[in-house]
Every structure is written in structure tokens, then in C-alpha cells.
Symmetry: C2
DNA sequence: AGAAACATGTAATCAGTTACATGATTGT
DNA sequence: ACAATCATGTAACTGATTACATGTTTCT
């Protein structure tokens, strides 16, 4: 029930094509909402039927046409309605933690590999957020004001990534038996 | 593709009924995998057909019968196969952050309400984890050894909750205009 | 007396993923 | 030559949620 409203929220900021929306989902806000272009196209069809969005076909020279969607007044109202209700519960599914949970069935090497892979992934993501952060800090005042709350969502992303990386260090120490976290020492 | 393996991982630790599995999902490991009893029952049916789990009906005096499921050798093998493959990607969906992202359309009061509700939720969860942590630290050595890696997954839960709470403070300061995080001062 | 917890499930629907399909342009 | 990016979509399937259904015991 949140995807259509996430799309409306993005379009309310800036009109864009389905393809472009999918990209926005999978770059800037991927850490709290991700999806595929297939789902976006399907959802845009439903939103068009409801009259919450409309599109103009833009023919680009030498490139395939694109449909640039924008939010309508009815769509804006629907978004406001949704925003004024309490947010649905979060859903977090992390298969890697199932592996760690049952990790006593794996070799130390296999566990280290998994942990290394995750460290790379999280370092990369954190690096990306910090880049975006620096770019935003260098932007004009009006942009900063407009993007203040979207930026705050990214601040959480940064804090969560930092927490992950600290935890990964702790796991490594435990795997190497340099630390026994359940002893009260 | 991870739920059946999450069930196998839990059963590999300790046999239990469908009802009980659902409870285990929604208490100890809910922060990285949650589900409903309906889904668990359906999945247990499939796992039984595959021969990866089996059950015994236990008639309890004065209570309805329960089916106590345990993992089979084939199930253990299937779990090991899955554990030896790289973990699928994580999925995190947090509707509250959609609200904050589009928060410029809301009143300051509405935003504060949402933030307060989240602070309560995360404080409660963190309190619960810390209780479990204290109980584990007081447990016998064999229990500690057995639950070392499951405990490490909870350690991440603790760190993520702490990160959320710190971030919520930051959001509050920004909403109260006590802080402008995009100024490089 | 009523609510919550114990215990199991079916049915219907909704959300999300994977596979397939097409065709042009740009970069290595 | 080959991969990647731009740009759009359909179809099939799998995963997850919500509503419904039943009956007991224990707690307030």
C-alpha cells in the first residue's frame, strides 16, 4: 500500500518518466524503498486510471519516446490523505542474518567470506551517501531548503551504514576469538 | 526464497510447533525476519511434502493438539546447501521515511507526532533486546556458546536501534530549527 | 463477563520478482 | 564486437498480507 504513495511523493518533487522513477528508487532512496521498473510501470498505469497522475509523451531526437508523468491535483490530495495517516509498519528482511544465525553449521572461512562481502557492500553504500551529502552541502540555499527532509532520510542511511560497519568489526573479532561478548569482564 | 530456510534454521536449533515458530519469528528475530502464523503453516506444509521436516502430534491434556515439527536429515542437507550459497539481497521498506521525505507537505506538529511514535517504538525494542542480552549473560556457559552467533545478530539489532534513536534526536533538532545540518559551520 | 493467549488452518487478494521482448545509442 | 544505458512494456509466478473460521483455557 505504500508504493503508489512513494511514487506520488517522488513525482510531487519532480516529474519524471517511469524509467527515471525506477532509477530514483534505486539510487537516492533505495535504502528505505526499492523496486523494479516493471512494478513502477504497472503502478503508473493504475495511478493514471485513478487520475492521480498524467503524462505527456516527449519525443526525443534519436532516442525512443518517453512518457513524462506528473502528479495531478487529485493525486496531491490522495498523497496528503496518506501522509496524514500513521505510517504502516516497516519490513526488514536480511537473509545474511539467517546465515549468521545458523552460522555454527558453517566453517569459519565461509563466515569470513560472507562478512567481507557485506563490509564491501556497506562501505560502498556509505561512500555514495557521503558523496551525495557533500554535493548537497555545496548546493544553493533554495535547493538545501527544499531537500532538507529528503536529506534527513539519507542521514539515517548514513547512521545505519556506520552501525553496520562497526558491528561487522565486532563480528570479526568474535569469529577470531579475540573477543567473547557474552562474558561480563 | 529465504523463509523456508529461516524456518529450517530455527528448527535446526530447536523443534517447535507452527504457532511457536511464528512466535519465535516475531520476538527474537523479528528485526531481520518477520512473518505471520498463516505463512508459517503454509510453508510447513510444503516443507513436509519435500521431506525436509516431519512432525509428531502431541496431545496436550485440556489444550488442543499441537504438531511439533523437527528437521530431517534431508532438511539439514538442504539448509547446508543454502548456507553455502551467497545470501540473497536484503529488503528494507520503511513507509515512515516516505512520509518524512515528503514531510514539507505536513505541519510541524504532524511530523513531531510521527517522530514521537517512532521514538517510543524503537525505545521499546531496544529495551527488550537489552533484557534478553542480560538474561543471556547470566546463562550457563554451554548456552552462551550455543547462542553466540544468534546473539551477534541481536547485537546488530541493538546497534541499529541505537542509531535510530540518535537520528531521531537529530530530526527533532532540525524540526525545531535548532540545527541546520546542511550548513558547513 | 470479556479479553487474551493457545493452537490450527483455509481462502482471497495484493505486492513483488523473474523471465521474456524490442530496439536504439553510447562507451570500451 | 560486446556490454551498458536509455526506454518501454507483458506474462507468469512466487511471496506476503488480510479476512475468515473454530474451539479451549487462563487471566483480569
Amino acid at each position: 500500500m505504500s508504493l503508489p504513495h512513494a511514487i506520488l511523493a517522488l513525482l510531487d518533487f519532480e516529474k519524471s518518466s517511469g524509467y527515471d522513477l525506477a532509477k530514483r528508487f534505486n539510487s537516492s532512496i533505495s535504502f528505505f524503498w526499492s523496486t523494479t521498473h516493471q512494478q513502477v510501470y504497472r503502478e503508473l498505469g493504475k495511478l493514471t486510471e485513478k487520475g492521480w497522475v498524467e503524462f505527456e509523451s516527449v519525443s526525443q531526437s534519436e532516442k525512443p519516446d518517453k512518457k513524462v508523468y506528473h502528479i495531478t491535483e487529485a493525486g496531491h490530495d490522495a498523497l496528503l490523505d496518506w501522509l496524514n495517516k500513521p505510517a504502516p509498519a516497516a519490513r526488514f528482511k536480511e537473509p545474511m542474518l539467517i546465515k549468521l544465525f545458523a552460522g555454527r553449521l558453517l566453517s569459519r572461512e565461509a563466515l569470513h567470506e560472507e562478512v567481507d562481502a557485506h563490509e564491501n557492500r556497506h562501505r560502498k553504500t556509505l561512500g555514495y551517501y557521503r558523496e551525495v551529502e557533500q554535493r548537497l552541502k555545496a548546493a544553493p540555499g533554495e535547493v538545501k531548503r527544499r531537500y532538507l527532509l529528503p536529506y534527513m532520510t539519507m542521514r539515517l542511511g548514513i547512521r545505519l551504514e556506520e552501525a553496520w560497519l562497526e558491528w561487522i568489526q565486532e563480528v570479526r573479532e568474535v569469529l577470531n576469538e579475540q573477543k567473547d561478548p557474552l562474558q561480563k569482564d
